[in-house]
Symmetry: C2
Subunit: 339 residues, 2 copies
DNA sequence: ATTAGCACTCGCCGAGGGTGAGTGCCATCG
DNA sequence: CGATGGCACTCACCCTCGGCGAGTGCTAAT
């Protein structure tokens, strides 16, 4: 019994099932794929594959469908990421380059990915913590309130208002602004602790209280994981899956509304690798996503990505195509933000 | 034949149908509501109501369901907005007051409304155009780039970067900043044209080019309707409607993803009245929302609201309850933003 | 190891018949 | 004249029951 052919059979089953959404039997398998053997032989292979847990049959007298384990083997060893065509790549590039600011880039990226994959698309905003700072602006709002605006190299702007204890602090704002900008320019938030502490020492003791408050805001911004924003598009694609019972899309929509859940998933996935990562069904530890797969990739830099994008859909998805789209959009996104 | 009783019958039909989601017949009608007449009498009334277009029967031998016209009459004349209980109001108030900034207020409001109504909730950010400005900040980013930050009384912050033509403009930035703030403080964007034009004249002719550019950004921000942001929650509630065929939720999800569509609907609705407004089924001119009703209200001020909130669900919804929730959340939102 | 043959399982489909909810109409009653 | 009881009729829903066919597993032959 050839081990290679068994894997061929698994690949054929996955491809057929993804295409037709129907359990696939031994007869159609030999008809549609040139396997060169008879249905009976395939049946033996299928029995072995089922024994090993890669496929299952929904009913006694029906064909087989892949299990999560089967999909996993498929994406790991059996499918090649099929590159997009030149016109497709061109279209992506042009569409993203038309964006006018960061919000627009992210918005276009997420819609594009939803369109390309016909799945739900998710794009995380470039991480504040890992972005290099371009500028810090301090704006006195009133006697005892100060607006702090952080601007990153990627164009993201974050603001925070702080209540000051001493009301006579205005005079030193210009100096503080100047010094801060010297110290932060081009650095990432994540690398700022030491420089800021050093800078604080340089001030006269009576001013340090104000300085510390401002520094604290900067560092709090760093700490707040909640500030990681993300946008979504293509939820209507969930309802596209034909006769899919609505009992299955509800928990998915619920999970999608919990940004915390999504952020955790995306973050966990990036740990695996710098390239495209796939989580299949039960692999994402979330009850509502048991029949859902996620394809994700980082963008912004190779080593330690700024943030992540992903496509999410039923486990029976076109993995090769989805992975290609996710990878492509991530790459062009990186290019745009770097440029 | 009593006209009053006919309306009672219509009300009973709407209430029963909303509750059970099943066509309601003459027998259960007299059983569940104390109408004081026999089923035969009800049948005569129902025939008249059907003739007038308020109800219809899906099949020959089934009960009646309300038409859009029937729901319309119901919300206009037959249903009283049932006020929330004191604990409910208290809970809303407390939950919203815990918010730390504008984003948090809006986020909490939309989740709360989705929870209360068990529908899809939409909250529009306070309109930039109608908000009073608190402050304008100008930040020179480099030789030829200037960051303009607008801060409104409601706490919304909007920024824009402009490319300057003359690179020697930095010296007048402080003066421009000071003058701008004198002219804009407390005014609404929508009222700014005249004061800004007047201010421009006060500058030396060689500086007016820069001044005009900055003024233009402020006015462009005013013009851009696209800047009207909105957030959504509770899409999972669409799938809650029991055995509802998924063919009906897909176009709704699609419509919801087009922010433009939603914004237009909300804007149109506010024109009707300052209070709670309802659009039923075909009344919203959008193919995907033919079986969907929207309940909306403005918030922020009585005369000309800052923005709107709304709840969206199947035409067979609990109008009285939904209207009460929408109105309550809108009121507390107004209170929070004013305080 | 592969394959042809074969018996077996079982989900799917359409036909048929009974049931009951609901209606419309009509004659009757207060 | 409106309300009502009676009655025939329609028709969606449900259940049952074969027939069909896809698909399987097993076994014996190559």
């Amino acid at each position: 019994m050839s081990e290679d052919r068994r894997l061929d059979v698994l690949r054929a089953i996955v491809e057929d099932y993804v295409l037709t959404h129907e359990p696939v039997g031994s007869r159609v398998l030999v008809e549609r794929h040139s396997l060169g053997v008879s249905p009976a032989t395939i049946r033996n292979d299928m029995a072995a594959l089922e024994e090993a847990g890669y496929i299952a049959q929904p009913h006694t007298s029906a064909g087989r469908i892949p299990t999560d384990k089967g999909y996993r083997l498929f994406v790991d060893r059996l499918s090649a990421v099929k590159p997009l065509s030149a016109p497709e790549r061109k279209a992506i590039s042009v569409f993203l380059e038309e964006a006018v600011d960061l919000d627009d880039v992210v918005d276009r990226a997420v819609r594009l990915l939803a369109q390309l994959t016909q799945q739900v698309a998710v794009v995380q905003y470039p991480s504040l913590r890992r972005s290099a700072l371009r500028h810090i602006e301090l704006v006195p709002m009133s006697e005892d309130r100060l607006l702090v605006v952080l601007i990153t190299e990627t164009g993201r702007v974050e603001q925070r208002i702080i209540e000051l204890e001493s009301s006579s602090s205005e005079p030193i704002v210009p100096e503080l602004r100047a010094r801060l900008n010297v110290h932060v320019a081009g650095r990432r938030l994540i690398d700022l602790s030491a420089p800021l502490a050093e800078m604080t020492e340089a001030f006269a003791p009576e001013d340090r209280s104000l300085v510390r408050q401002v520094v604290k805001v900067v560092e709090d911004t760093l700490a707040e994981a909640t500030e990681e924003r993300l946008v979504m598009a293509g939820t209507a694609n969930l309802a596209r899956t034909g006769t899919d019972f609505p009992g299955t899309i509800r928990p998915v929509l619920e999970a999608l509304e919990e940004n915390v859940v999504l952020l955790r998933l995306l973050t966990e996935m990036a740990a695996d690798s710098a390239g495209v990562t796939v989580r299949i069904g039960h692999e994402n530890q979330h009850a509502g996503l048991a029949e859902t797969s996620i394809v994700a990739a980082g963008y912004g830099a190779d080593g330690e990505p700024l943030a992540r994008i992903g496509a999410l859909g039923p486990t029976r998805m076109d993995y090769a195509g989805t992975m290609a789209s996710v990878r492509a959009v991530a790459r062009y996104l990186s290019r745009i933000l770097a440029g």
